[in-house]
Symmetry: D3
Amino acid sequence: MIFSGSSHGDLAAAIAKKMGVPLSKTQISRFACGETYARPIETVRGRDVFIIQTTTHDVNENLMELFIMLDALKRSFASKIHVVMPYYAYSRQDRVSVPREPISAKLVADLLSTAGADHVITMNLHSGQEQGFFDYPVDNLSSYGLFVDYLKKKKLKDMVIVSPDAGGAKEAKKVADEVGAGIAFIHKHRVAFNVSKAMEVIGNVKGKTCVIYDDIIDTGGSVCNAREALIKAGANKEMYLIATHPVFSDPAVQRLKDAKFKEVVVTDSVPLPKEKQFPGLKVISIAPMMAKIIENVHSDRSVSQIIK
Amino acid sequence: MIFSGSSHGDLAAAIAKKMGVPLSKTQISRFACGETYARPIETVRGRDVFIIQTTTHDVNENLMELFIMLDALKRSFASKIHVVMPYYAYSRQDRVSVPREPISAKLVADLLSTAGADHVITMNLHSGQEQGFFDYPVDNLSSYGLFVDYLKKKKLKDMVIVSPDAGGAKEAKKVADEVGAGIAFIHKHRVAFNVSKAMEVIGNVKGKTCVIYDDIIDTGGSVCNAREALIKAGANKEMYLIATHPVFSDPAVQRLKDAKFKEVVVTDSVPLPKEKQFPGLKVISIAPMMAKIIENVHSDRSVSQIIK
Amino acid sequence: MIFSGSSHGDLAAAIAKKMGVPLSKTQISRFACGETYARPIETVRGRDVFIIQTTTHDVNENLMELFIMLDALKRSFASKIHVVMPYYAYSRQDRVSVPREPISAKLVADLLSTAGADHVITMNLHSGQEQGFFDYPVDNLSSYGLFVDYLKKKKLKDMVIVSPDAGGAKEAKKVADEVGAGIAFIHKHRVAFNVSKAMEVIGNVKGKTCVIYDDIIDTGGSVCNAREALIKAGANKEMYLIATHPVFSDPAVQRLKDAKFKEVVVTDSVPLPKEKQFPGLKVISIAPMMAKIIENVHSDRSVSQIIK
Amino acid sequence: MIFSGSSHGDLAAAIAKKMGVPLSKTQISRFACGETYARPIETVRGRDVFIIQTTTHDVNENLMELFIMLDALKRSFASKIHVVMPYYAYSRQDRVSVPREPISAKLVADLLSTAGADHVITMNLHSGQEQGFFDYPVDNLSSYGLFVDYLKKKKLKDMVIVSPDAGGAKEAKKVADEVGAGIAFIHKHRVAFNVSKAMEVIGNVKGKTCVIYDDIIDTGGSVCNAREALIKAGANKEMYLIATHPVFSDPAVQRLKDAKFKEVVVTDSVPLPKEKQFPGLKVISIAPMMAKIIENVHSDRSVSQIIK
Amino acid sequence: MIFSGSSHGDLAAAIAKKMGVPLSKTQISRFACGETYARPIETVRGRDVFIIQTTTHDVNENLMELFIMLDALKRSFASKIHVVMPYYAYSRQDRVSVPREPISAKLVADLLSTAGADHVITMNLHSGQEQGFFDYPVDNLSSYGLFVDYLKKKKLKDMVIVSPDAGGAKEAKKVADEVGAGIAFIHKHRVAFNVSKAMEVIGNVKGKTCVIYDDIIDTGGSVCNAREALIKAGANKEMYLIATHPVFSDPAVQRLKDAKFKEVVVTDSVPLPKEKQFPGLKVISIAPMMAKIIENVHSDRSVSQIIK
Amino acid sequence: MIFSGSSHGDLAAAIAKKMGVPLSKTQISRFACGETYARPIETVRGRDVFIIQTTTHDVNENLMELFIMLDALKRSFASKIHVVMPYYAYSRQDRVSVPREPISAKLVADLLSTAGADHVITMNLHSGQEQGFFDYPVDNLSSYGLFVDYLKKKKLKDMVIVSPDAGGAKEAKKVADEVGAGIAFIHKHRVAFNVSKAMEVIGNVKGKTCVIYDDIIDTGGSVCNAREALIKAGANKEMYLIATHPVFSDPAVQRLKDAKFKEVVVTDSVPLPKEKQFPGLKVISIAPMMAKIIENVHSDRSVSQIIK
């Protein structure tokens, strides 16, 4: 059985359609007092249940709704409860950088378990180590294959994969090796939260076609500054931007429009309402991959062959 | 050390002032992407920590912020963490009335514990049994004493304590006995969520001064319908309304203004911004009681003598 | 597989018979030193096991025997262990009324889980909130349907459903609505434990046929005093008494005999040996309902359609 | 603070007296329906609490009362809860001898922890390995020192310490070495539960003064048969019997009277009402040792120096 | 699926062969830095997995490798993970003999569970009570049947089963009864760790053929001293030695060679490389028994009929 | 109280000396059979206990010894148990890179907790996210300050901080910013485990004095290849190497000798026996920092001010 939370109905519908099964019915509402109410309408006793809920700008609402739904499923005797959360909440708060910080990514893993989750399927966690935050099984899928396929079809000449910061250089390199491209990365200083300032380009980009490669586009500052730095360093103005999770917090959309990337390629792990779409935006759907994963999980077949 | 979440800063300030201690500093912010960030700024290692966070119309935000704050405190070696939540979130979702419902009040108790709470101090839980939802100590205070004192000072003649539904008759009776009043209650049918329709008055209210007594005023429908039913049953038009938690969801304020109660007496367990205030509204502060409780908990003195 | 503890062999036999399966064999004995010994005689490895044990006047013996049996089943690799406890032990100790009281109903839920229970099936918990005491699935069945059917067949005229205290008014109302009757309830003061004194009747019972409706008959004081109060208030002397759990502690049987109810209608959730039976006592068996529930649980079919 | 359950008030009083502190007040009662009620009457918030409850013939009642008391103490914020159970319940059910047996001694350790115990102080567990049943600290005291002192004072000639079965030979040897005696043990076949039949004597007892040494005297069969076997093997008729826990189940008292041991030496770990006392019975009180242990535990001093 | 750790590949291979299934593939290696790496190469999602790992002289390496393998299996969604550990690590550290000792046998049971074990199959635990150390199911098999069969075939005359210490007398007696032999045991004082000194023989061995019966042969001191004591007591020089676990720590092999037992009969629960073999050593394989147990566990059939 | 495991006695002694307290006594031994035995000799009841045990080439022995010591401390009523493990075991196995890999760093955190650890103090975890592997408090100290101080004193001209792989670029940058140096990093392909091959230098090192900066030196392959690549890229031959944890697995020492770094600067987080020392090796002791941390933890003072 596949249930959908209210965070990303389109994706849930696409996955269900791909699998040829209907979404199971739920009653989800919010009272005037702000409290959330959620229950499955169909019997789940003894069933293998998947619930699809990603993270949006209402991340706290998304999570609490999910916890409540999990509690209802658990109390109704679902056999196994799999949470499908393509964009994992609080993924970036994964360590204590400043004394007394929370590790919210770990906290969310624990809260999910307390509420009733037996398994989480997610995608491109901000750091691979977050798998170790889960005391129960987790599948961390990757958009890597989708993007490599996309780039291979493009057949760009003199391509360089660029990581917008030093930390991402490793991931960028993996893609570069696969598609036969060069690699570079950007030095930067963060002045304050949500503000970023790109600086020095490490690696040779002169006359090259750059593909900036990141996991999340939040406010878009890093990648747009990276773009400018690359141009200053002699890169072609025709530039690409690839990222798994299009969070697109204000003012990301305006910035990306202004930056005039040749293409901005993302997945639909996060909902993109019309007002967040713009020319040059390409959305590759994760629904086929997710559908396959769910089928394999449900029938105890290997997942690793799909996620590479 | 006393910390305040962002839900009800006025109450936290009032409690801290009453105790003669400053509120400890925290950094609480919300990123553009919707995620919450919270950390204590001062060392909490080995300290007995109280964190004050009530429930408002942003209940899910309030809870997630609290969970994150608890995680930060726990990881920073606080010795004992006491959550002070005067209006307990999801208090009314305390049983499975319809098949496959969640028991969200129990869920919240479990999530608090997972996040790091060692103890919860709350007030007038919707049902006394909810104390059993906590696998760790909980203090369920009562506004009973505050309201009884208030009513005794009023010296109303021919007073009848009225419960707006059958379930509350027991609590109403306890107050009636203490202040020497009669008792009555109202039959009602709920047509739909958030809508209520009062009906028959059980008990004698003819020519009496009625004090409607409830734990929560949400949209105000029940109590306003109760008022009409009482008037039809011959009660004095000059009527009182007492309730612990002034949730005041739309359209409660308009309804209460229209109903023209002589007085609407509530506590400040929930913040009441100016636009929710109106003539006849009396707010009794719980800050002195809370301050005393925190002092006694901190010094391992009995709490039961205060909460009666 | 269905096992029976020693508390209510007749009910277990009736359920097994209804299902057409034999009771599985156990060795249960008590040593001269007072210790209980219990083990399943047949292999339970990988099996879905139900164990039927209700609460009697030897409640503590019943519980310890059950815990020991659960330990034996768990260590013998039973796959899922379902406890069927029609009358749930310590159901009335569900909140802290006086400072420092235990919440024994919660404690029993926790001890059952520690001993090995994966699921509890019970009936008419004293309060619905007790479902939240279970950190694992619980099915709280109701005798409501059995009694409504019974009353509908009776076709009593001018019927009023009477709750013996204010707290039960809600439940009484639900029955009254279904069978088309009026409603009333009784004010009362408890002087001491196990002693009760009825007082004022709230609601109109003059010339009516009263059906006192309660969940548990313990020493019978409340309901017998209720009966007198109703007669004083003008009710017909021919009166009915309905209750789910016939605990019948001393001197309940004598009191009920003296009270001369037209009928005392109960279920067999608690064993009723001959010396506790008397003219006018009607016992409706829960065995058919329990048999159906067990079948549906075992085959992962919905339970909610049966329990209404 | 020291509380006493209802199982062995005399011992609790003796311990408290020895320590010079009063027993803390509790309300313990049993309802007509068989349910137990228990609560501390004094504040325990933040206190180090000891509760004394041993095992008697009402072992299941003793345990449930203790669990309920623990729940009340835990919910009332006791800081640390120490259970003092001189004779540990179900100590002999410590392994799976026959397939699908429970390990009740382990179960009791787990139930105590679930109910709220942080630490158990007990004495002469039936097997030393049971210490490993506790996932939390346990102190397993020994009567060894008390009995060795007693025997040394006796200055018996040609003394042989006799274990009534092969399993106890190790313990008997330890005593024999200390008091400078020989050692022997008895072969036996158990025909059925609670029935025993002694057989062959291993070791030289001819003309010796035998001291049968056991941990528990239950129905007394083993030790009385041992006595006969020893006499047949040429031992002096004037014989001694030493055992820690005088459970004295029927017909132990009659058997021991008939056997005419010179002395039957036991501790007061189990209550011995008048009807269980007889000529030749010597009771060595454990109260002084227990008092010292409690004092040392409370003040974080070493316990091992006392228990040897 | 059956996996093998690196501790005893021969046994794993023998078991798998007996069952007619191939061993599943794993990658196990040790880095230059000393860290162990282990992962299953085949998909285990939803599978019932058995992992065979016994204890050798590299017990700590064996355990850590097993924990890491369990972690990998758990994270890879194995359905149930059964650990087959014929010789259970730290079996002899099962109680606190000296103050502040660990109970390592209990610790290992807990660490296995934390790492991911759902069930342990082992053999001849040093004490039966250790079954209670497991909070999850454990099957404690016995070599008893293998040795009894062996002795019956031998048809030795005037046979006496001898326990090398008092504690083992019980087990020795069980064998003696079955094969129709006499029984004796040895008094001994341990002077220091790993050193032992046998002393007095209890029981009649004059002119008898002795079979020393022990669970573990570690350094061989006890049994060799026992041999000498028996000869002094008049036993035949042609003597047998039977033990389940041939740990054979230095200088066991030399001692056994020197002692010239007629036969030293052991199982292959522990690997015996060539340099530990010698004339007179008979190894009875446990592979057939283990194969049958695994088959029955996997198909939820009774195990107790096999292990007697 | 401060205890030392057997892995790094020198460091423990240095820390204790710095604090002016003696190391508490333990009995740690290894039996001939390979099992470890460990117990505290002094009473730890109610004490705040620190146990110092780092990771060496006998990492599995180190861990099992620590687990056993923790079990002994826990069972002996230590109040809080702090593990001081400067080089955290299995730190590099922190994610699932290849399907079905274990996350051993998380496993170790869980095993420590099961064995009894309440808190871990470690240093330079391979990734910061590993803090989230701990469900209990952890302090992750850093050698950053020690090395920055060292470099500042050196006053090297034209210094470039070089990370030997892309993943470490972030950390290298942090140091570079603080000491006013440039930054570079090396591309590399790992051909097989423990073998590495350096390749392309990213960043400008021509004529510069390079300081290779890494967290761990294992076999030394990466850093020596990095050295060659840097020289090819025009760097000064006089080069420095800095790393926190000198694991020095074979053939690291030979490689480092051959490479002729001007200086190899490490801490004593791992023991360095004489045969692993060579000209140019500088060891900065962490003992002063650790001593201060332990003092602050013990007295509930802030740790964050020390660890920067």
